[in-house]
């Protein structure tokens, strides 16, 4: 049956729209579509907040993300843009929290900084050196713990040192120091499956610290814990961080966690591709209270700025 004229026009129109979207996804068209173009659809570019001016006397920049974008190709050649145009600085010895709901690309951002993913556009530097792959200068704590089931607590913690050829006696001493720091003394010979979720993540934190990285990257580390343990682990994290200052980039979807821990909170847009929306400075002394007036006020402000309830 021959196609009617209106059907043909319709098909052409749909094809033009598809092509245009594909071009945007592939990054061939950078700017938003203007009114009156072939597709006739107005797409508003997400307005990235301009990077705030660096406060005077701020510590030096440790991690710098310059305009990074990443698109994943799914099955069937479907392109899913995950993060777009992210420019971000993490200062030395700062506790930076990236806050965003699930599916906002925040874990991908962390993986790019870790060197486990390569960005399609832009670059990341650590101390001014561009990052090309994973390395021991960035310690990572994974959401699903990622402990080695066949190694006991001490062997898990000292693995990084062992891989880098640190002699046994020295690495035992370092491992024991960090095991003590996370409060797991007496559990050195336990295997991961004998530990509770909170204890497993303590091992994960000790393992990352033991490698003495320049920065710590934590990817929703308490996402699998119950609320009670989660709160306790936040207190512990703050305590450990006070004790051993490191530059920390902490990814979470939990607003209270972000407020309790962060020096600065970077809020991500609640949909893909993930972009940075706003940032908040939390200039409050530690140890903080989850229910202090100042935190709750800031909480109100952040919630009013998010479409989705976090």
């Amino acid at each position: 049956m021959p196609k009617s004229v209106s059907e043909e026009v319709n098909e052409q129109f749909e094809k033009a729209v598809d092509d245009h979207y594909n071009a945007i996804i592939k990054g061939e068209i950078k700017e938003g579509i203007e009114e009156g173009t072939a597709s006739g659809v107005l797409v508003q570019e997400p307005l990235n907040a301009p990077p705030p001016p660096r406060p005077a006397g701020a510590p030096p920049v440790k991690i710098h993300c310059e305009d990074i974008s990443k698109t994943f190709i799914q099955k069937g050649n479907q392109a899913v843009p995950v993060i777009r145009d992210i420019t971000l600085d993490v200062y030395e010895n700062e506790f930076l929290v990236v806050l965003g709901p699930g599916q906002s690309g925040k874990s991908t951002l962390l993986k790019i900084i870790a060197g486990l993913e390569i960005p399609d556009k832009g670059y990341v530097t650590l101390d001014g050196e561009p990052i090309t792959g994973p390395g021991p200068d960035r310690g990572i704590v994974f959401q699903s713990y990622m402990l080695f089931a066949w190694k006991n607590v001490r062997d898990n913690v000292e693995l990084g040192l062992k891989l880098r050829g640190v002699p046994a006696e020295e690495r035992h001493a370092i491992a024991d120091h960090y095991i003590r720091m996370v409060g797991l003394e007496g559990f050195e010979k336990h295997y991961p499956h004998q530990l509770s979720g909170g204890m497993k993540q303590r091992v994960g934190i000790a393992r990352a610290y033991a490698n003495s990285p320049k920065v710590m990257l934590l990817d929703e580390p308490f996402g699998q814990l119950d609320a009670q343990t989660r709160m306790y682990m936040q207190v512990e994290t703050a305590r450990i961080w006070e004790k051993e200052r490191r530059t920390v980039l902490f990814v979470t979807n939990n607003i209270d966690e972000a407020l309790f821990l962060g020096d600065r909170i970077v809020l991500m847009e609640g949909k893909l591709p993930g972009t940075l929306k706003t940032e908040y400075a939390v200039n409050l002394p530690r140890p903080r209270e989850h229910t202090s007036m100042e935190l709750l006020e800031l909480r109100e402000e952040i919630i009013s700025n998010t479409e989705l309830v976090l």
């Binding site: 990622m146 080695f148 190694k151 006991n152 509770s196």
Partner: protein, 281 residues
């Protein structure tokens, strides 16, 4: 708060015992085990005494007597231990040779695409072939001596060994490799710290399957032609119409297979201490 306050959970075993009742007795696990076993042997005895299979079933008592008699007398130039050792020796030689080749080959296949591409088509060709199908060819090639029997066992044990080692590596969580890379490790570290230990349980599962295949194969080979071994006892029992001897051979081979599988389980406990503690829970 002291840090010792983590993991202070304790498990209180409920040890209080209520009154002993009939219901408790008939739902007791050990009571049911006993009922099941006694029932089986009673049925066996009844079937044999009432000649349901004419004269071709011995009573449990006759079988037991036969086993005891075998331990003291020589049978076809060998005492019982000689026959057991004959079969065990073949199983051991075949099983050890096959697993020493198949397990590393399986690991290599999983780790190296080229090795995989060369071995996999051949392996897929031979995999579905039942090992017993090789018996005739083995006799034509190697005669009726030890070589052909060991050959059958190697054929039968090779496949499960290789398959389990291969799958053991391939089913490792790929994110664990990321951890090694993040900690500053190389490809070699990934293999020795992740691939090998992670595939240990699968390798041992493969060894268990191989071992039971080995006992099947040794029996088949000995039934065809042999002058000693447990298969020979069974064959001789059939030829002389002695069901007690056949059943003795069957029981002995089951016992030998069970003991050898126990040995592998002990070896696994030794090699995978993290798994031992899982079992103990």
């Amino acid at each position: 708060m002291a840090s010792s306050s983590i993991a202070n959970e304790t498990v209180d075993h409920a040890s209080e015992r209520g009154r002993f009742t009939l219901y408790k007795l008939i739902t007791n696990r050990y009571f049911l085990y006993t009922v099941s076993l006694v029932g089986f042997f009673a049925l066996w005895h009844w079937t044999a005494v009432n000649k349901i299979f004419q004269n071709s079933l011995a009573t449990p008592k006759e079988v037991l007597d036969q086993v005891i008699r075998l331990t003291t007398m020589n049978f076809a130039g060998n005492n019982l231990w000689g026959h057991i050792w004959g079969s065990t020796q073949r199983v051991l030689v075949g099983f050890v040779l096959a697993s020493l080749v198949a397990t590393p080959l399986g690991l290599f296949m999983a780790l190296n695409k080229t090795v995989n591409a060369i071995v996999k088509p051949l392996f897929d060709l031979f995999k579905p072939m039942p090992p017993i199908a090789w018996v005739s060819l083995a006799i034509l090639w190697f005669g009726i001596g030890e070589t052909s029997k060991v050959f059958i066992i190697i054929i039968g044990t090779f496949v499960p060994c290789l398959l389990n080692a291969y799958n053991g590596v391939r089913l490792v969580d790929p994110d664990l490799f990321d951890v090694i890379r993040v900690l500053g490790g190389s490809r070699r570290d990934e293999i020795f710290n992740v691939c090998l230990p992670a595939s240990f349980p699968a390798i041992f599962a493969g060894l268990q399957i191989s071992l039971s295949a080995a006992w099947t194969c040794v029996l088949a080979a000995e039934l065809m032609n042999s002058r000693d071994g447990l298969g020979f006892l069974i064959k001789r029992g059939m030829d002389t119409h002695s069901p007690a001897l056949v059943l003795s051979g069957m029981l002995l081979i089951a016992a030998a297979a069970w003991l050898s599988s126990l040995a592998i389980a002990l070896l696994e406990r030794k090699c995978c201490p993290w798994k031992r503690s899982i079992d103990n829970i």
